[in-house]
Symmetry: C2
Subunit: 377 residues, 2 copies
């Protein structure tokens, strides 16, 4: 079922197709995040129109609300939220470590309190897989532990636990229509990363995720980690860099052999008035846009840019109109999705590597903070 066919390679950058029960996924691909079974402010029609193919949803959130059993009863996540194309769920691990009120980790799993109502819950690899089987995404994740990347002792311990949990996740998983990905951890230590990449690559996962990045390390550390990990992964399996997405992260990640990305950044920035653009990030609340009749980005052909002026968007933001979030979400997601589509074309004609510097130059002003902490929406 879950064949990954490489169509083109240029250096370490790859173009491929991953077959899923909900259609073929062209990679590289950027996945919008629908944390609670909704990509914030957008309808499925919006997502189709802006060319989204893969959509991610969060196991931790859906387990707590509305509950994975309810989603299963409603026919699964695709049917519940009416997304007919491929879907991915994470393991819930990252949110347990970043969002839950308290957590107690042992070798068997994690006991935590819900950030919604303080109620106590427990995730184990088996539980995470059972929840993800109820949700029914095409691509699901092994349960993992994300460490502070700069804490070496903890990174070692979390990596070892992640490896044992990967084996247990594999054993627990029964649905044949879901591709279970293993997750590489290891903080920013090259040796740990190499150990983890080799171990996870040795297990029969149809795809491999790289976790524990964009969580507080520097960009250089992220790149060095990718430089260690991707050469150790098999060619015939897709690689997914979790929770990463600024435009420059996508360029750098694809150049280092990553195939799949997701991030809440485009929709989160949108609700905070910020727009990606090929000339740098814009804050549309800014008074300089008051009478600006240009679109957000003159080189963008999304619905928002085809239709509305910066002056109108600035008015909507100023007047606290919810439509602003919708229109900026459309633009920001389109920008990332289209950037990846463009890069796909460049790789296929063997012209990506030579364009990396100019692409980074063009899109490099979109990360205003040196190391954005990964956002959980």
């Amino acid at each position: 079922m879950f064949e990954y066919n490489l169509l083109a390679k240029e250096g370490r950058a790859r173009v491929g197709v991953f077959k899923t029960p909900h259609g073929d996924l062209q990679t590289p691909v950027f996945a919008p995040v629908g944390t609670q079974a909704s990509v914030k402010t957008l309808t499925p029609e919006h997502l189709k129109e802006l060319g989204a193919s893969l959509v991610l949803s969060n196991t931790y959130h859906l387990y707590l609300r509305p509950g994975d059993e309810l989603v299963a009863e409603m026919g699964g996540l695709h049917k519940f939220m009416q997304w007919p194309n491929p879907m991915l769920t994470d393991s819930g691990g990252y949110q347990v470590f970043s969002l839950a009120l308290t957590r107690k980790i042992d070798d068997d799993g994690v006991t935590f309190k819900s950030h919604i109502d303080g109620s106590t819950h427990r995730f184990t690899p088996e539980k995470s897989i059972a929840i993800q089987e109820n949700l029914g995404a095409d691509i699901i994740m092994a349960f993992d532990e994300c460490s502070d990347p700069n804490d070496h002792a903890y990174s070692l311990k979390a990596m070892e636990r992640t490896h044992r949990w990967a084996e247990r996740s594999l054993k627990a998983h029964v649905r044949a229509d879901q591709a279970l990905f293993g997750i590489v951890q290891g903080g920013v230590d090259p040796d740990l990363r190499a150990t983890s990449a080799k171990f996870i690559a040795s297990l029969p996962f149809p795809g491999i995720a790289i976790g524990g990045l964009s969580v507080g390390e520097t960009k250089d550390e992220m790149h060095r980690s990718l430089d260690v990990v991707t050469p150790l992964l098999p060619e015939n399996k897709p690689r997914y860099l979790m929770g990463v997405g600024t435009p420059e992260d996508l360029i750098n990640g694809i150049a280092r052999g990553v195939d799949i990305f997701d991030c809440v950044l485009p929709t989160r920035l949108a609700r905070h008035h910020a727009a990606f653009s090929s000339t740098g990030r814009l804050n549309l609340m800014n008074a300089t846009f008051k009478r600006d009749t240009r679109p957000i980005d003159e080189s963008c052909d999304c619905y928002t840019c085809r239709t509305f002026t910066r002056a109108y968007l600035r008015h909507l933001i100023n007047a606290k109109e919810l439509l602003a979030g919708t229109l900026l979400s459309i633009h920001n997601l389109h920008a990332l999705i289209q950037l990846v589509v463009d890069i796909r074309g460049l790789i296929q004609t063997g012209s990506f590597e030579s364009k990396v510097p100019s692409l980074l130059d063009q899109w490099g002003n979109n990360a205003q903070k040196p190391t954005p902490v990964r956002l959980t929406d």
Copy 2:
């Protein structure tokens, strides 16, 4: 330019076409309200898809933010908000009386403080018309004073002022591509209403609005006022009942000879989890919908009802997802727009009057409060 052609009549109910610079308006018509140049949570594409033809925007709000001069500079309201079909602006009078922090009325106009920043402003008939000329809607309103309907002395005074302001509005108005409507006032007193209807009908307005209803009077008082007013109005001019819109208000209004309606109710209810339906109003936050796989209304063919279950909508509401407001707004607006389209068909085949009782029976449970106070969004 602003011809109104009657196509059919049944009793007092009418079907007609009002020609505007942005296309022909089929009446009866329900206009969604885009208070601040945005129908809350919806794109213009949504509005087109759900069959909206006329959209209303508020002079008071746009004057304060972003400013009518800015809108004019941006090419007018149609271009600014990208609504290509007919538009209507109110006079600003109602909001000055209901929203502004303080107000001082004299025979020349009203001085008031902005509800946004407390700054002092003054509206006169001439100023209201100048603002509306800057905004550039197809249908604009004479400046009027809306009284407490149960205060007879004030209603008389406000009516007389409204009449003088109607004459001044007519004199001030110069743009030939805008239809200026006069407004009938008079509270709930039949004599005042008759006096006002006759006076406004005697002036050369291409259309006539009925103001000061749905502001605290009973449904019976509203109906009796319409029963007095519409028979005194010329046949060849459209009649617009301002700020009214529950499903049953539309049925009752059309039966009494009204052609145009607007109300924030459908979009406001949507943001508070309530949906119109042909079996009564639903609050989709209700736990009874947790596992309900039906659409909001099985007889509705809007995007929301064609696509999503009550269980999913209830989850979105429960999880505070903004998409809930969008999807319920689509449904509620579609319900009113489709109801009016259906009634248009019934009038054309002479079968509306006989259906009024069953329509009221079907839609009558959608007004949960006996007299909803008119909402200003």
